[in-house]
Amino acid sequence: MRKAKTLRVAVALAAVSGLMAVSGCAANAPSGGGGGGANSLEITSWWTSGSESDALNVLIAAVKKNDPGLTVDNAAVSGGGGANARQALAARLQAGSPPDTWQLHPAGQLKSYVAGGQVADLTALWTENNWAAQLPKDVAQAQQVNGKYYTVPIGIHRGNVLWTNPKVLAKAGVTIDPAAGIDGLISGLQKVKASGTTPLCLGDKDIFASSQLLESILMSRVGADNWKKLFTNEYSFGAPEVKQALQDYKTILSLANTDHSALTWDEAVKKMADGSCAASLMGDWAYGELLNAGKKPGTDFSWVVFPGKADIFDYVGDGFSIPAKNIPHAAAAQAWLKTLMDPKVQTAFAAKKGSIPAMTTADISSLSQYQQQAAKSLATGAVVSSLAQGQAASAEFAQTYADAVSTLNGGGSDAAFIATMTQAQATQLK
């Protein structure tokens, strides 16, 4: 009796679990095959925080307006500062079931997808719509690999912005003058320290905050042309300007909050706006976060072009690509790309994201004061790609740089940094 009952229970359990597995199978089919019906669009990105997802929703609303019957699947992946999203995307690309479109940075990050044959050649679309003429030259250049276009830009972020707290600076009697260069910045920060406040708020739980700081200093010291030459192995990491920049970085790091490796980048920026520090270096995606946190530009926080001889615009691009093979919904993807290059859509996106529209034909007069100033910098300053965001070079080189910065933060020597980067230049830049 007992045996029969046990057997029945076991069979029932097995049946239930079989059912669950099958239903799980159906509900969780490899994404790409299961999303929506015939007219749908799946978008992968890492835009999950407040201002980012608002901006993404603007784009989704725009593409739906053009095609009311379209279902859009927002497959944004959180975590790791984009690393999780990129990993999930890489897994799907390897499995041969890509999404309809994914967000990426142009130039260096784009190159690895092109090398793997993963992204579609969009040159025909570009020439048909004459997009190249509607973008700044450097930006258009970044969307190409070997003369062909593979991605479509939606916005332009600046990586080297020094956000400041006007009240703290006023209390210390300091003004940060860009023309005074890094030396002026350092002396200003030291004056702030003397007045009793932490000079710099840094949040490098994700190391990119530190690598962003170092690259801003590097750019400032070596200049735009030499920065570009670093990635063609024409300029050495052992040059005196680089050594000077490393010294500056160490000095500035000593003027930052000691618990920086436990803070996230937005916590650091918000602390600065709350008055704990005088300044914080971060890309202008922080602008959207600060607004989201209720801080008022001009009163709670302000900004300054990063000090240096010239105005160097550290370009971090937002854009989208579509897969080269196995694209689930080709028509919808093409419509998506065309929607992105609509000047009105670009302005609406920029308003939420804190970036500048990529198209010169987009109207910026309705955007904030910061964004208008940034647009002016873009037009007049020298535009270079960011290494900290993986745009200036390949993923491998960017990882080597990030590791080298982490070692530096841990007390590593300048000589070690130079040796690592020089070796990477020789072996990893192809």
Partner: protein
């Protein structure tokens, strides 16, 4: 005190008789206050140890109950206005992956236990030439760091178009769970006297009939032990879920880790999420803890 072991101490005890089974050492059922100062010291130290072990649990619970007011400033204080807001937020973010975890854990645990019991049965009752060697070879699979096989597993699942799916994860967990379930069942069946198997053979039962009609009914404790062990291991797994699952198929541990995120951490919600993820295994442990311990110590008694 005796941790009840899986082994019946005497072969004839398994024969259904009117005698009560012999225990290894007497288990005192009544609580008694310590009789000596040393006894009081031991009791006091145990109580202090208990507090020490439970402080993190307390911290998780109070932080989770802080809701939207933010965590209490003094981290050992109980929040002034406990609220369940954090749980609501955490539930919205986690309930999909909690279901995923359930869909992965239950089938994988059941199937790996069934396979383990079959293997244990064969290895203990029908030892063939080289069975010990092969068993040891199988056991190595329990100890390898899974990073050493993650890339080939990923490529393998890709080939079968199961990469990123729940079924793929179930298969992986079954295969890597077989060594441990085999070990548990083999040790369990060793304690069941061969006389039973022989009696069945005399009655004309073959291998399968003996298994289904004789061994399985006796295996319920073994299944409970192996089942709990596998359920806990699979539910708490992170590496396989992180790398082999697509976001739609993420188990709860991966989603919980993502709540840490790159922007300001919402600690109350994070702690509430941790409680939600921990609840099933903790409940399983509290209810069936005795068998849990047996799983840990299977074969350790020497």
């Amino acid at each position: 005190m005796a941790t009840q072991t899986l082994h019946t101490p005497h072969p004839t005890a398994a024969v259904r008789s009117n005698r009560r089974p012999v225990r290894r050492a007497p288990r005192s059922r009544k609580w008694s206050l310590p009789k000596s100062p040393g006894g009081w010291v031991i009791l006091a130290l145990c109580i202090i140890g208990t507090f020490g072990m439970l402080v993190p649990v307390y911290v998780i619970v109070t932080t989770a109950l802080s809701g939207s007011h933010g965590a209490p400033n003094f981290f050992l204080a109980f929040p002034d206005a406990p609220s369940l807001d954090a749980f609501k937020g955490a539930w919205t973010k986690l309930h999909g992956s909690l279901i995923n975890s359930l869909q992965i854990t239950v089938p994988a645990a059941i199937i790996s236990c069934l396979l383990g019991s079959l293997n244990g049965y064969v290895l203990s009752k029908f030892p063939f030439k080289g069975s010990t060697t092969l068993f040891t070879v199988l056991l190595v699979g329990m100890f390898i760091p899974f990073q050493a096989v993650i890339i080939p597993v990923f490529q393998f699942l890709n080939m079968l178009h199961l990469q990123g799916t729940i079924v793929g994860l179930i298969i992986v967990h079954i295969i890597y769970g077989i060594p441990i379930t085999t070990l548990i069942f083999r040790n369990y069946y060793e304690a069941i006297p061969n006389a039973i198997v022989e009696a069945a053979a005399i009655d004309g039962a073959g291998i399968w009939t003996t298994f289904t009609k004789v061994m399985l009914p006796l295996s319920v404790p073994g299944f409970v032990v192996a089942g709990i062990f596998q359920c806990t291991n699979i539910w708490n797994d992170f590496l396989f879920g992180f790398i082999l699952a697509s976001p739609a198929a993420w188990p709860a541990t991966v989603t919980l880790n993502n709540l840490i995120g790159t922007t300001t951490v919402d600690y109350p919600e994070l702690m509430a999420g941790a409680i939600l993820v921990a609840l099933p295994t903790v409940l399983l442990y509290l209810v069936l803890g005795r068998f849990f311990v047996q799983g840990l110590t299977a074969g350790a008694v020497k």
